[in-house]
Amino acid sequence: MTTVTLQYYAQLREQARTSNEQVSTSATSLHGLYEELRARHGFTLPPDALKVAVNAQFSDWNRVLRDGDTVVFIPPVAGG
């Protein structure tokens, strides 16, 4: 199991009902992690609508998760 910190923005924050949380996951990649969270929180956004950043750097979706990573999934927002 890997323990990571998640930060949520926009619709993801709304659907997760929190702006951050710590989770233990059996997922090994960001893709796997997002699918796991999607099932848990009912995220409506598909991963291809999102950008992902790990430890304050944009990241490839196939990046291997490591203990202590801070992961942010970022949807584009439209309001003005």
């Binding site: 619709q11 944009f58 584009p76 003005g80």
Partner: protein, 522 residues
């Protein structure tokens, strides 16, 4: 009792007051003009009024009636003295009673201003030194004229005497007079005069940016006022570009403003961008952001993007320089409709676009003034609930560069926008469409068709099935028809994305067609 009276002797004011009593009145306002002991430095011991009575009576009556109609007050009267008056005498008395105090005050003010301006009454002043003089009516400031101007014309008010003072910014070492000259020469296009656009326009106008272009097709709605600080309640229903232009003219008359009351489209965006040094994207529309991004990349004009969601926002500066990242480097394709939340659907707290718009204004000024900026490019995420922000550096090599580069992506994007623009066709009747060679396809549901048949030869494929039954469509030009043009527009775009460029949508749908002759008889 008449609304206006001339009196050669003192009048019982209590009687005038009593005459304006009205059961529907909750407020009474009176104005009394008294004889003063001096005029323009000369001591006066009395004066004499002379009126052209017939004309004064008719004009006075008209003025009070105008005030009653204009402010909807219940009762009003004006009494003007003639003859000899001593210091302290009442020369003119006006009383107004109305349901609420505001109309009473305003009607009272209207009457005295108009009386002074229009009434054929002359004033002969008697000076203490024995001299006398007939005094002409000087220019009268009429408050109500300015109310009107505020509503409609303040962009055109003469402010020739105003000299802007930029000393608070030119004293910054990095700005100085040279920086101010750069701002005066700068031309900035602001797309969207809403929650983000208001602070952007305010700060750029205040800073003395020489030319501001404003694009917005919307009229002000009451629901805009919690975040769109350029406007007020009197402005509802007016075009935002007109309102914003007026506010900017009032704030800094030295700024030239150009307005665009229609959204930019694929046919003009490149040309319009070419007239500016910088573009600030402030709409609440993702499609517009991609559109602006593509036009910025193709014209090489820097673009400052921001957007907000509830309590947070995103900010990105696209320099449009070769090798620097763009919006598509982060999110290559515009997400499907409904994926990105808008202010209408998701809500937003007013100051959130205020903060992000202010940040856009800072980025705009930094670029124009060439102020120090970080060397790398980043997406800034601002969360105003927990007071945090995250600056995520963007690696251009991981963006558009992996699939042909920003310019290639922008070209494709703009071509798609052009194609989508050509989807909607206007026809007044279906015979004209058939004569023009279009095969008609009704994409409505069976019940809708039964209620309102097309009365023209057409194929029927409900919009939900259009993708899978595309093979049944004619090879030549096809016109899709629904009730309003919405479903047919979406369906036409879906088919075009599947490689069918000859598919069009009837703009406005059945609702926009001219009524059939045989149905409007009688």
């Amino acid at each position: 009792m008449k609304h206006f009276s001339l009196a050669s002797d003192a009048v019982d004011l209590a009687e005038l007051h009593a005459s304006l009593q009205h059961p529907g009145s909750g407020g009474f306002c009176a104005f009394e003009g008294w004889v003063r002991d001096s005029n323009e430095g000369r001591a006066v011991n009395g004066l004499e009024y002379e009126a052209y009575a017939e004309l004064a009576m008719a004009e006075g009556e008209r003025i009070v009636e105008e005030a009653i109609a204009r402010y909807g007050v219940n009762a009003a009267h004006c009494m003007h003295r003639t003859g000899n008056l001593a210091i302290g005498d009442v020369a003119v008395w006006i009383g107004v009673s109305s349901a609420h105090r505001d109309e009473a005050f305003r009607a009272c003010r209207y009457i005295i201003d108009e009386i002074k301006h229009r009434l054929p009454i002359w004033k002969k002043e008697h000076y203490i030194d024995g001299d006398t003089a007939w005094v002409a009516c000087a220019h009268t400031y009429r408050e109500h004229e300015h109310e009107q101007r505020h509503r409609h014309d303040h962009a055109h008010e003469s402010v020739a005497s105003f000299v802007p003072d930029y000393s608070r910014q030119t004293c910054l070492r990095e700005v100085g007079e040279a920086g101010q000259a750069k701002l005066a020469a700068a031309r900035v296009l602001v797309i969207g005069a809403g929650g983000l656009g208001c602070p952007v326009l305010t700060y750029l106008a205040g800073a003395g940016v020489g030319t501001l272009g404003i694009v917005d097709g919307d009229r002000l709605d009451a629901s805009n006022l919690h975040r769109q600080t350029l406007y007020d309640a009197r402005d509802i229903g007016e075009l935002k570009v007109d309102l914003a232009a007026r506010r900017i003219a009032a704030l800094n008359p030295s700024v030239a403003v150009k307005t665009y009351a229609e959204p930019l489209h694929a046919g003009n965006i490149i040309e319009v961008f070419g007239q500016y040094d910088q573009v600030v994207e402030c709409t609440d529309d993702l499609g517009s952001r991609y559109f602006s991004n593509d036009a910025a990349i193709l014209t090489g004009i820097p673009l400052i993007l921001a957007s907000v969601y509830q309590y947070e926002g995103q900010l990105q500066v696209v320099t449009a320089k070769q090798g620097d990242p763009c919006l598509r480097c982060l999110w290559p394709q515009e997400p499907a409709a409904g994926v990105a939340g808008s202010c209408i659907e998701s809500g937003v707290l007013g100051p959130v676009p205020g903060v992000l718009g202010s940040m856009q204004a800072i980025e705009a000024l930094k670029l124009l003034l060439d102020l120090p900026r970080p060397a790398d490019h980043a997406l800034l995420l601002v969360n105003l609930l927990d007071g945090t922000s995250q600056r995520l550096p963007i690696d251009a090599a991981q963006g558009c560069a992996m699939h042909g580069g920003c310019i290639e992506a922008a070209r494709r994007g703009l071509a798609m926008a052009q194609a989508a623009r050509d989807v909607d066709l206007v026809f007044v009747n279906l015979d004209a469409a058939i004569a023009a060679g279009y095969a008609l396809v009704d994409v409505r549901e069976a019940a809708e068709i039964a209620a309102q048949p097309l009365h023209a030869p057409s194929q029927w494929i409900p919009s939900a099935l259009i993708g899978e039954r595309a093979i049944e469509l004619a090879a030549g030009p096809v016109l899709l028809i629904c009730a309003s043009g919405r479903r047919s527009g979406v369906a036409a775009r879906v088919l075009r994305s599947q490689g069918m460029p000859n598919v069009y949508s009837l703009a406005g749908g059945v609702a926009a067609l001219a009524p059939r002759r045989d149905r409007i008889a009688g």
